[in-house]
């Protein structure tokens, strides 16, 4: 079966090369036979890579430990759930997963792109084949997932315990899907540049893809945060780790693009900028992959150091150079079709919004690479951790939050003073009122104060927009207000879905600010003994250690400690936290014991209990107790953000006239 997989990789390699040649040649020469051949090459490449993936997954399920990858990441007693995720648990398998999904997306792009955009497809086939062929090349020459060992171990090493978590089953593929799907908009951008069809058509063709990509990246990031929170045990969800940053970079650039693309659709402006953003987002996704896989920067998330990094670096440099040259050649064709009429316009606010998104992306990239730069310039290694990122990024993030509220309220083209007054009066008063409340409540930390006050302002803008729209429907059609809200969203999903995304962002910002108030303590307790911790809201929590029990479960030996929790003397529940020693099928220890956190999540705060260990092998346990305010709202904000994204993405949503306006430039006031 692995032989079949290996040969499938070679077949995919050849099909990919064929797709590249026929795609570019067919597109440039306008030959339909070559174009058709490129299309078929994409399908064949997908079939070959799917076969390779099935082969590897079969080897995993058959426990074929003669395959190096299977022996390195699985064991006989690994739960079935994680046998599936073993496909992308290691470097080599994840490369195969990446290439397979990319070829799947390339196939879907060929199959489902509207006939109106067919002219781009040969180039799209060529670019997607080129990228997928690169991944196959890396596998064939540097990281073959089908490599065999000289001997067959009795059992495999097993999967890292921290990866044996449901969050880790879904987080990597979601992030990969986000990364990978950026290739399709990038391929369309290159196709538009090569075919010189640089009007709004290519934007319409990639709209769904950009949203899909953004949505997957968002879900991937949120799941990654959740996994870090429940699994790593340090009590937080974001540590500005280089690999986390690498995932955030394309998300920031894609978000900027989703805003600026509206300006091109409505006004025919920012053509150069939008192309640059799509190309930049894709290059950043490859850069992130390079960071994760090269080991150039130390990270807890990265794969082990390997020669794969050199492949990615070379590919990144060549791809960036080629894209920039092509972009530069076509610049004269990218002139705007309209000019900005006023600084007080939505177009201008979107430009500032983009500036902040790109500024944030630059800031994150700068901080991530600064240790390398410092070593070059100063000859001194430095660490760039959360204190640096928080100091530099929080002000930019707060400005962006403010613009989240300001942008949608300013009229397109030109806003008048009465219009601004009418739009901003209620949200501004709301923001100031919230500010007053938090100050009176005794909050003195600037960051959280600003986040909450701006959150109030932005929420008011969103509610005002919903209120005005629903009232208009209520007056015009006599609909009850609840129904009017539903129909309002259904008829203009893009706009109101976007507002829901903004609400999600507000919730996330406010929830992030909660971490400024976290409290924690460490205690060693005998059974029956208690430790107390006061929450930021003033409640006194008492944690009583009940005892320790040990038992075997699946592929591990569990040491579980139970803690009774009461708030101000009233019982609120019981938490269990564990130490897990994973073993292989022969009962041998495989990894260092890992920790499972006990979490009680509530609207106000999370109780987070970690079993540190036992004192001299007795039931006397060392605990860390943490109270994390508002964490529940991070996950809820994430749900809201994803729900808003899905509403925007959902097909349909509005009468044909609305769709036409969205698809092309808005009707111009000037008679030409």
């Amino acid at each position: 079966m692995t032989l079949l997989g290996h040969w499938s990789l070679w077949l995919a390699f050849l099909m990919g090369l064929w797709g590249v040649v026929t795609g570019f040649a067919g597109g440039l020469q306008g030959r339909t036979d070559l174009q058709q051949s490129a299309r078929h090459a994409v399908f064949a490449m997908f079939a070959a890579l799917a076969l390779a993936s099935i082969s590897l997954e079969t080897a995993i399920f058959r426990h074929d430990f003669n395959v190096e990858y299977v022996a390195a990441y699985t064991s006989r007693n690994l739960p079935t759930f994680y046998l599936w995720s073993a496909l992308y648990a290691g470097q080599k398998g994840s490369l195969l997963f990446w290439a397979t999904v990319l070829s799947l997306f390339a196939t879907l792009a060929q199959l489902f792109t509207s006939a109106r955009h067919r002219a781009y497809l040969p180039f799209v086939a060529a670019v997607t084949c080129l990228v997928a062929t690169f991944f196959v090349t890396v596998m064939l020459f540097a990281a073959n997932p089908f490599e065999r060992l000289a001997f067959t171990p009795v059992d495999g090493r097993g999967m890292n315990p921290q990866l044996q978590n449901p969050g880790m089953v879904f987080h990597p593929p979601m992030l990969y899907l986000g990364y990978i799907s950026i290739t399709i908009p990038f391929a369309f951008a290159i196709a538009a540049l090569l075919s010189k069809k640089l009007d709004v058509d290519w934007l319409v063709a990639i709209r769904k893809w950009t949203l899909v990509s953004w949505l997957f990246l968002s879900i991937g990031l949120l799941l990654g945060m959740w996994w870090a929170y429940v699994e790593l045990g340090w009590g937080g969800y974001w540590a500005w780790d280089p690999v986390e940053n690498a995932a955030l970079l394309p998300w920031l650039v894609m978000t900027a693009f989703l805003h600026s693309v509206m300006v091109q659709e409505k006004r025919g402006m920012l053509k150069k900028w939008n192309l640059a953003l799509v190309i930049g987002a894709w290059l950043l996704s490859i850069f992130g992959t390079f960071l994760t896989r090269s080991g150039v920067i130390a990270s807890v998330h990265s794969f082990t150091q390997s020669p794969v990094g050199y492949f990615f670096l070379a590919f990144l440099v060549i791809a960036a150079a080629a894209s920039i040259v092509l972009y530069a050649i076509r610049l004269p064709l990218l002139e705007a079709e309209a000019t900005l009429e006023s600084v007080l316009s939505r177009e201008a606010s979107f430009l500032f919004n983009n500036l902040l998104f790109i500024g944030l992306a630059f800031s994150v990239l700068w901080g991530t690479l600064y240790p390398i730069l410092s070593e070059w310039v100063q000859g001194t290694k430095v660490t760039v951790g959360p204190p640096f990122f928080n100091l530099v990024n929080i002000p930019l993030g707060l400005l962006l939050l403010a613009l989240t509220g300001i942008g949608p309220l300013i009229a397109w083209r030109r806003a008048s003073v009465p219009n601004l007054k009418r739009q901003f009066a209620v949200p501004a008063v709301t923001g100031l009122f919230v500010l007053l409340i938090v100050l009176v409540a005794g909050m003195r930390e600037l960051g959280p104060i600003m986040a909450i006050a701006l959150g109030g302002f932005v929420s008011a803008t969103v509610i005002q927009e919903f209120g005005r729209g629903a009232s208009a429907r209520h007056r015009q059609y006599g609909e009850p207000l609840a129904l009017a809200v539903v129909r309002l969203v259904a008829r203009n999903r893009r706009r109101y879905g976007g507002y829901i995304v903004h609400l999600g962002i507000v919730l996330l910002f406010i929830a992030f600010s909660g971490m400024a108030f976290k409290t924690e303590t460490q205690a060693t307790l005998r059974p029956g003994e208690s430790a107390t911790l006061r929450s930021p809201y003033g409640h006194l929590y008492t944690f009583t250690h009940l005892g320790v029990s040990q038992y075997d479960a699946l592929n591990r030996r569990v040491t579980a400690a139970l803690v009774d929790v009461s708030r101000d003397g009233k019982p609120v529940g019981r938490l269990k936290t564990e130490k897990r020693q994973h073993v292989d099928a022969l009962g041998r220890n495989t990894f260092e014991p890992s920790t499972e956190v006990g979490i009680r999540s509530g609207l106000r705060e999370d109780l987070y209990v970690v079993l540190g260990g036992l004192v001299n092998g007795t039931e006397q346990a060392v605990y860390r107790f943490t109270i994390n305010p508002l964490v529940w709202w991070v996950w809820f904000g994430g749900y809201v953000l994803v729900a808003g994204g899905l509403i925007v993405l959902w097909p349909g949503g509005g009468p044909p006239a609305v769709r036409r306006t969205q698809a092309g430039y808005a009707v111009r006031l000037e008679a030409k």
Partner: protein, 205 residues
């Protein structure tokens, strides 16, 4: 000394014999007493903690938490210093998260020892820098070239924002000049266009 046998009344028993029997009895009781303590279930308030069956699977054996482990002043220092185990976390977070780490407890002890010698927080941090290099700090010190590191992102945004604003003003001036030329070809008068614009502004944007 005499003792009574239960079956036939009084019997004679030597003191030496009695003491020997008593000692043997105590010896037979002690192991069972010790065993019962070890197997005692540990319900709340039930007394001393018993040993678990397999201590090794619960991770590294730890000592009881001391006052220094939870001291806020030490925590504040340790949160500025990176653990050298490669986790990327600060000393405090590492020692209270990865309890298998063998580096962070040692680094914590160094912080405590320096503090007990009367050193201030800054002196302790300086001592760590002298010993482990600047890399031990969770963020680069705000001096020299590192100031570029701190200020460049915000500086770039500010400069780019200024340039953007200037560009926008230039564009809008150009746009203001253009309608005068375009207006001659328009079917609508400037007043009508202005009225239309006002009407449109009444709708939610």
């Amino acid at each position: 000394m005499t003792m009574e046998r239960w079956n036939d009344g009084k019997v004679e028993c030597e003191r030496r014999e009695f003491l020997g029997l008593a000692f043997a009895g105590v010896l037979s009781i002690v192991p069972s007493f010790l065993r019962s303590v070890a197997q005692q279930d540990s319900l709340p308030g039930a007394g001393p903690a018993g040993r678990v069956a397999d201590p090794a699977s619960a991770g590294r054996a730890l000592g009881p938490t001391t006052a220094a482990d939870t001291d806020a002043a030490y925590q504040a220092i340790e949160k500025q210093l990176k653990c050298s185990c490669g986790c990327g976390l600060d000393i405090y977070t590492c020692r209270t998260t990865d309890f298998n780490c063998t580096y962070s407890p040692g680094l914590h002890r160094q912080v405590v020892a320096l503090a007990e010698r009367g050193q201030t927080a800054q002196q302790i941090i300086d001592e760590f820098i002298a010993k482990y290099g600047q890399q031990v700090l969770m963020a680069p010190p705000k001096r020299g070239f590192n100031l570029v590191g701190y200020l460049l992102p915000s500086g770039v945004v500010l400069v780019a924002g200024g340039l953007l604003l200037l560009t926008l003003f230039r564009w809008t001036r150009a746009a203001a000049a253009a309608p005068a030329a375009q207006g001659r070809n328009s079917d609508a008068s400037p007043a009508e266009l202005e009225r239309l614009r006002r009407e449109l502004e009444r709708f939610p944007s």
